[in-house]
């Protein structure tokens, strides 16, 4: 793996020689192995090191960014010159500055209990061949199984004109598994994603076989036993997976300050929260039962980091607190524009992308009930344990979740599977309807999309089960 810190330092020093308000240089080297299997057959094994460096400059109120994967001083000069030219020719009326931060000198890394480097390619492939065997012998007809695994060893070196010098190393493993189940001439399909920051112990944490066999059986049961729900107002219990996606989509995203300021308006969109609008910090958006946080410091989580990509120390952020809009996610640019401090939410996927405001691990904090207690108190409703199709509008207010594993609840008891129940509602109605939250928090891995060019970034979504009263389900 190549990480020429001397070139990164040189780029920063060269940039500091120009009339800049702020400059940073970041090197990144990423050893990535990718496995792609179809029906247990390895289509291809790709293994490569992607490395390079970038420079970001704030000068004359503009921002310029340039990167290269050619590690030479000449190239570093060209990159700095380009970034400086771009910053100084932006001609902005409203000058951009970065919120104040002190320089930090540190090193951090994520521990591997079982080092990825010590796991042979054969053993890596074998994990997914075994998964395929387990799925094809579980008693469910599965004509198509797709699996992809990415194994990343990510080294970063960050320096800036305020004296920061931060080195980090993060091993990360992610897997996607797709199953298409066929019964009675019908099909049902599901994607599952798994993610972990750490070593090969990820597979023990995930129980990927058990999870996928369960998913296949659920899909079979939806075909063979599932019944449509009679549309109407009813109680809905969201399992942790549904709680998590809602936390991500209708809490995390609208609380991203760059969206609130309009910087993403042409791509991922804006937010129902904006200055002068009906929602701002302190406005009620949910019941008192609801507290949603974003926390990069959850150990071994898919979205883990100790310092963000602007060198700001990571910490938990309370987004919705006791049902009130509480704290936005910020990078240094958005924080300065809103007159506050950054809170360590600046992330990038690679050396050739600017760091922007991102979530890390967004989840609902647990309550005091058991899941059984949530169900016991429902006369008529649906338990939506997991979801399939979902989406939300670009102001993050109108969302829809379609159940994958779901059951009818009658008089406090779980009954037959419900085929694809749908909740299609607003952010305000969804979070306001929550009256009880269970004790157990579970997480699911996801890849969050944003920016142009797209930066798919690893996150966790999660939370406990939540009970929503009298919402429309169809």
């Amino acid at each position: 793996m190549k990480m020429d810190e001397e070139i990164v330092d040189f780029a920063l020093e060269y940039a500091k020689g120009k009339k800049v308000e702020y400059a940073e240089a970041r090197g990144q080297s990423q050893q990535r192995d990718q496995l792609s299997l179809r029906n247990g057959i390895l289509e291809a094994y790709a293994s490569a090191v992607d490395d390079g460096f970038c420079v970001r400059i704030n000068a004359k109120g503009g921002i310029g960014f340039a990167s290269s994967n050619k590690w030479t001083k000449e190239e570093a000069k060209e990159v700095v010159d380009l970034a400086f030219k771009y910053a100084t020719t932006a001609n902005r009326k409203e000058k951009l500055v970065f919120a104040e931060e002190k320089g930090v000198k540190t090193k951090w890394s994520v521990e591997q209990k079982k080092k990825i480097e010590n796991v042979s390619p054969e053993d890596r492939v074998a994990k997914f061949v075994e998964l395929n065997k387990a799925l094809t012998s579980c008693g469910v007809k599965i004509p198509a199984i797709g699996a992809q695994c990415s194994i990343d060893l990510i080294s970063k070196y960050f320096v800036n004109s305020e004296g920061s010098k931060i080195s980090s190393f993060v091993p990360k493993i992610g897997a996607f598994v797709f199953v298409s189940v066929a019964e009675q001439g019908k099909t049902e399909q599901a994607f599952r994603q798994f993610g972990y920051s750490g070593g090969w112990e990820a597979f023990t944490e995930w129980d990927i076989e058990g999870n996928m066999i369960h998913t296949a059986k659920v899909l079979r049961d939806v075909i063979t036993k599932g019944r449509a729900v009679k549309a109407g107002n009813m109680d809905l219990i969201c399992g942790s997976e549904v709680t998590g996606i809602a936390a991500h989509e209708s809490c995390g995203h609208p609380m991203e300050a760059d969206r609130i300021l309009g910087r993403e308006m042409s791509q991922a969109g804006r937010s129902f929260i904006y200055k002068g609008g009906p929602y701002w910090i302190g406005t009620r958006i949910g019941s008192k039962t609801v507290t949603v946080v974003d926390d990069p410091t959850v150990e071994h989580s898919y979205g883990y980091y100790a310092y963000d990509d602007e060198g700001v120390k990571a910490r938990r952020r309370f987004l919705y607190k006791d049902g009130l809009i509480s704290e936005f996610l910020h990078n240094r640019e958005s924080a300065a524009r809103l007159g506050t401090r950054g809170n360590g939410s600046s992330r990038t996927v690679n050396y050739d992308r600017e760091a922007i405001v991102r979530m890390a691990n967004t989840f609902v904090l647990p309550g005091k009930f058991s899941e059984e207690e949530l169900i016991e108190d429902v006369k008529s409703g649906v338990f939506m344990k997991s979801f399939t199709e979902w989406n939300i509008d670009d102001k993050r207010f109108n969302q829809r979740y379609v159940g994958r594993e779901a059951y009818l609840i009658e008089n406090g008891e779980l009954k037959h599977p419900v085929a694809r129940p749908i909740i299609e509602t607003t952010t305000l109605k969804f979070w306001s309807a929550v009256d009880a939250v269970s004790k157990e928090v579970e997480f699911a891995a996801a890849t969050c999309g944003k920016s142009d060019p797209g930066q798919g970034i690893p996150v966790f979504t999660g939370g406990p089960s939540m009970r929503l009263r009298e919402v429309y389900v169809k």
């Binding site: 792609s36 390895l42 992607d50 970038c54 932006a90 409203e94 099909t187 904006y274 299609e424």
Partner: protein, 441 residues
């Protein structure tokens, strides 16, 4: 630059010498530039230079791939790759890389796009055009993106070629009110005729018409799709004709070869032609690219293939090879004799949709999905726009929508936007009957 081709060929020769059965190497020297703007001002200008060789090789049907940057440590990289192949697993479905010597069309990439000067002024010109068309103050955001790539491909199986690929794209979303916006795009392979102000005017016009939106009503509507939003659907169908999607059952076209899947006047093609953003003269195996009609007058005619999937399906490659799986490059829908205005006149009561995002499927095989229209959503009565609407969702089926196409305009636009209208396409205005719309309750 033949030096680069020589170095690319050397990688192939080294891998062969070390024992690889088949080897592909593709070197890309790319210069990419982008201006991002919001609130009518430039937020950041970005440049990234890429010097990379993608290498794929097969040893006893074990397929492995890597990337080499700037030709550094070629020997070490090739050795490691071959070692990886030897401990990897056989893919009995691997049908080899494309074989033969091919002649390629001359490329006509625009060198001005290697380092376009004064990109910010293109942006400000388009923002001004949007504001003028909107008839008042706007809040706009978007991107101006340029690409220039020199591509060198060498294969142990015969193909060898050089290509230059250029593209320029402008995308603008303009708001006249908090919930009244329009989106316009301008896409090309060259600067000649590239007019970002046109995209600005389109965004401004839609935004002006979208003022004062009311929440729409659920139901089945006749819908006129703007070229931009229809580009999203063309992307969905083109992904589903990739042979890889068929093999994974992630397609509504499984077991439908030769079947009528759309009305007779619907013809869809893949064609990375010179005008298009993904223009290229060969695919990632070195096979010359060409026009592939995959739905011909309503009948499903072919899937899109690389050499391996073509062998599995007992047919020929269509020149759609990516390094691992086949994919569409640029989708074209044939136009008709009918004008856009005539298409509108034929709608007694329906909707005009201009853009969408967040398309997600419950089941790719069955085709059930939903997507969320954004920017202008309009109620049409007697061919005229009557009311701006908001907060509606298309909740329907991909195969049903294809079958319910009822009219196509002669006007077509080359469109691409973010990951939503992707891959790029040549897209007309299209009338689709009985599209199901839902909303929050």
């Amino acid at each position: 630059m033949s030096d680069v081709l020589n170095k690319t060929e050397e990688i192939v020769q080294k891998a062969k010498k070390l024992g690889a059965d088949e080897v592909l190497a593709r070197t890309t020297f790319g210069k990419y530039r982008q201006v991002r703007f919001s609130n009518n001002q430039v937020d950041i200008t970005v440049a990234w230079n890429d010097y990379v060789t993608d290498v794929a090789l097969a040893w006893k049907k074990r397929v492995v791939a890597t990337q080499i940057h700037n030709f550094e440590d070629v020997d070490g990289n090739v050795k490691r790759l071959l070692q990886l192949a030897k401990v990897s697993q056989e893919n009995p479905m691997f049908g080899g890389f494309a074989k033969g010597k091919f002649k390629y069309a001359a490329n006509k990439a625009d060198k001005k796009l290697a380092d376009m000067e004064d990109m910010a002024s293109y942006v400000s010109g388009a923002v001004d055009a949007a504001e003028k068309e909107a008839g008042g103050k706007i809040d706009s955001g978007g991107i101006l993106y340029t690409k220039f790539e020199d591509v060198y491909l060498a294969s142990s199986e015969g193909p060898i070629g050089v290509d230059a690929r250029s593209a320029v794209e402008f995308s603008i979303r303009a708001f006249v009110e908090r919930e009244a916006s329009g989106h316009g795009v301008e896409c090309s392979s060259t600067l000649k005729g590239f007019d970002p102000a046109k995209a600005g005017r389109k965004a401004g016009e839609i935004a002006r018409l979208a003022k004062g939106p009311k929440i729409g009503e659920e139901g089945a509507y006749d819908v006129i799709y703007d070229p931009l939003i229809f580009g999203s659907m063309l992307g969905v169908w083109s992904n589903m004709v990739s042979a890889y999607s068929i093999l994974l059952q992630m397609s509504v076209f499984v077991d439908k070869m030769g079947n009528k899947v759309a009305p007779e006047f619907v013809t869809l093609k893949d064609n990375p032609a010179q005008y298009s953003m993904p223009n290229r003269v060969f695919d990632d195996e070195g096979v010359p690219t060409k026009e592939n009609v995959f739905i011909d007058h309503g009948v499903l005619k072919t899937y899109l293939h690389n050499t391996s999937t073509a062998k599995l399906f007992k047919t020929e490659t269509t020149g759609n090879a990516g390094l691992v799986t086949p994919n569409a490059w640029n989708v074209e829908m044939d136009g008709s004799n009918m004008s856009k205005d005539e298409l509108f006149k034929g709608v007694k009561r329906g909707l005009y949709l201009t853009n969408t995002w967040y398309t997600r499927f419950q089941n790719y095989n069955k085709g059930d999905f939903s997507t969320i229209p954004r920017d202008g959503i309009f109620l049409i009565e007697k061919g005229e726009i009557k009311q701006s609407l908001k907060d509606l969702r298309i909740s329907d089926n991909a195969l049903t929508l294809l079958g319910n196409i009822a009219g196509v305009s002669k006007e077509r636009q080359h469109v691409h936007w973010w990951g939503e209208a992707d891959p790029p396409s040549l897209s007309p205005y299209v009338l689709v009957k009985d599209v199901h719309m839902t909303k929050s309750k």
